[in-house]
Subunit: 394 residues, 2 copies
């Protein structure tokens, strides 16, 4: 079974040839440092995505001249025409990445080439100007090195990076943006959920739909997110932390909030556990952490060391399957998985006025969630080498 299907790309979405105007030339980078660097905050006081570092990276694309020389400059507001595509038609895509400081004092990124390929595909899906993922990655590395003092050293803490591309065509005609801006901002952060490893609860939602075949759910497109805010508010009012997105008449389980979703189910043949997530059918974001968890789950060495026997499975499954597995005592763990949260446990899923319960564990995470989280963190912060996943910025 293939577990690394991170690159679905239909013929229409191929970016144009990588000619001169679509190259981001990092050799022409200009760096302008702030004269008033901010004081660092105590890591414990950080709330996700609220604090930003001193600098940002920026480049702009003009259809006649291609990508501008990239810049690293003091963090500052953007100044944009009110008719710009980014406001009117939301031709905006982004990535989420994290930089860690290794025991060797070097800054590291986690599988950043996967983010870059996805960024290229996302931009192509919205017919934005072509993205030079390799050049963008070099720019990101330079920003990380510039902001190295901002990378928290507390375990589980990191410097969250947000590469963003916005359409800047200043016209109301409903057409692709032929101008764009690429920028990268950085935010020191701790655990995504304020409660740390305490499990989150989900409310299953089917009246609102996050993504559909032929839409943009398989791309990291800004417009995928705001339609989820209202269901999220409804879930919060009912006492749930996040939404579990169901799809279709059969109520297939897809994603949780803005994360991929996995379940650990005891196998009928007694041969360990199925580690199940929805397949990349266009409604599911091809998450980097998702791909990494699937790869680890299929690695005998990881299973042996962790005392696990996981069978990774990408398959469609429904909320009724979840209800049944729970009532049969087979549903061992449910996990939200993504760059920001890494691996978070789920303890209950509200559905039609009742809660599907998931076993709770003293440590917050169950054995599968804990082993995956620990392993990924160890790879991310450079304590363990694994398949070249951790990439040093230099």
């Amino acid at each position: 079974m293939a577990v690394e299907k991170v690159t679905p790309c239909t013929p229409n979405e191929v970016t144009e040839p990588n000619d001169d105007v679509s190259r981001l030339d990092i050799s022409r980078l200009s760096v302008s440092l702030t004269e008033s660097p901010k004081a660092l905050l105590a890591p414990e006081t950080l709330r996700f995505g609220m604090t930003f570092t001193d600098h940002m990276a920026v480049a702009t694309y003009d259809p006649s001249t291609g990508w501008s020389n990239p810049e690293i400059k003091p963090y500052a507001p953007l100044t944009l025409d009110p008719a710009s595509s980014c406001f009117q038609y939301c031709s905006n895509v982004f990535e989420g990445m994290k930089a860690y400081l290794g025991p060797d004092g070097k800054a590291r990124l986690f599988r950043p080439e996967l983010n870059m390929r996805r960024l290229e595909r996302s931009a192509a899906r919205l017919a934005l100007p072509p993205i030079d993922g390799d050049g963008t990655l070099e720019l990101i590395k330079r920003l990380v090195l510039t902001e190295k003092r901002w990378i928290p050293t507390l375990q589980g803490y990191s410097l969250y990076l947000r590469p963003t591309i916005i359409g800047t065509r200043p016209s109301l005609g409903v057409a692709a943006s032929d101008h764009s801006m690429l920028y990268v901002i950085a935010s020191p952060c701790g655990p995504y959920f304020p409660q740390g490893l305490r499990p989150v609860s989900l409310l299953a939602v089917s009246d609102k739909v996050r993504a559909w075949p032929g839409g943009t759910g398989g791309y990291k497109v800004g417009g995928n997110y705001s339609p989820g805010f209202l269901p999220q508010r409804v879930a919060a009012k009912q006492g749930y932390d996040q939404v579990l997105w169901l799809f279709g008449e059969e109520k297939r389980v897809t994603e949780a909030g803005a994360m991929n979703f996995f379940v650990v189910v005891a196998r009928d043949d007694g041969d360990g556990h199925d580690f199940i997530t929805a397949p990349l059918d266009g409604t599911i974001l091809p998450g980097v952490t998702r791909a990494s968890c699937l790869a680890l789950a299929s690695d005998p060495a990881f299973n042996n060391t962790a005392g696990l026997n996981l069978h990774p499975v990408e398959r469609t499954y429904t909320i009724q399957d979840l209800v049944q597995w729970s009532s049969q005592g087979k549903l061992m763990e449910a996990l939200c998985i993504g760059t920001a949260a890494i691996v978070a446990a789920v303890n209950k899923i509200g559905y039609e006025g009742r809660d599907v319960s998931v076993p709770e564990h003293e440590a917050g995470l169950g054995p599968v969630g804990m082993a995956l989280r620990e392993k990924i963190l160890a790879i991310q912060d450079g304590r363990e080498e694994y398949e070249g996943w951790s990439v040093v910025c230099e």
Copy 2:
């Protein structure tokens, strides 16, 4: 049959009570006029959405203080934090409206209260702060009066208005934007399609999908538009002007480009023509021009005067129905209908390598399209009074 279903609203989407902080107080409007007004362009040189007037209207929402005092001020770029919701999660909604100058020299809007109710619903769908549609309409009227010299007087020309709301919460946490900015920009414009009344061609698309039940297709949400740019580009490369969006396995006909879509089909009983469009099932934008055309088509006086016998029908129908109606000689007209284009004729629809042909007419539009367009234009520019649809700005 109900033809004015412009207000579908599920319980979850009701905006919060219109208390003090959610009121836009037009009595506190400040007006600051430009010192360097621009020269007007010759109407014939205008391209849709490319030229903007001297001023814009702006108000901002802060969760602790509510709506700021509204302002009319010189047209200028927006200055926004790069972490703002509008860039990251696309919490952006908008409206399209037109101001005309009547024979009495007064500026007029067309059924603006429908736009304001839709703007309120769109904002609520993205969990944006509550919109005061009535206050917003007053602000728009003031802007129109300020920019009156920009309203073109050539028939079929108007001042296009773009009320826009963007989320301005400067945080990467995936949550509703509790801050927002409302702004209105204005653009003098002529016919939406550069070819004027010449018919447009459509390419039927089913591999990409514009909207889905439970999504945001029934709201004027910015994120609905950019996913259409890639299919639009594919259509253009194949020589078609716009996309005809199909939906589902049965390939239901939904919208055309960013417009509602209608067909005129001869009835089997010989009693005139069915005037058919897709129903408001959540995948269709409840267009103001759509509602107006349905209302006119059900008005005996309009039918009599125009020599028509239309039976408006909101029903699902498929591309196979279109193919069949065309081959039987019953498909008399196909029309794209929206604020920008008003009523545009379609002459062919590409589907699976063949073209579904639609009769062409010397005048560009057929009798139904022409009668609707003429009537709506006459109401919009104040030559005819009809049901209070034309609202004077004063």
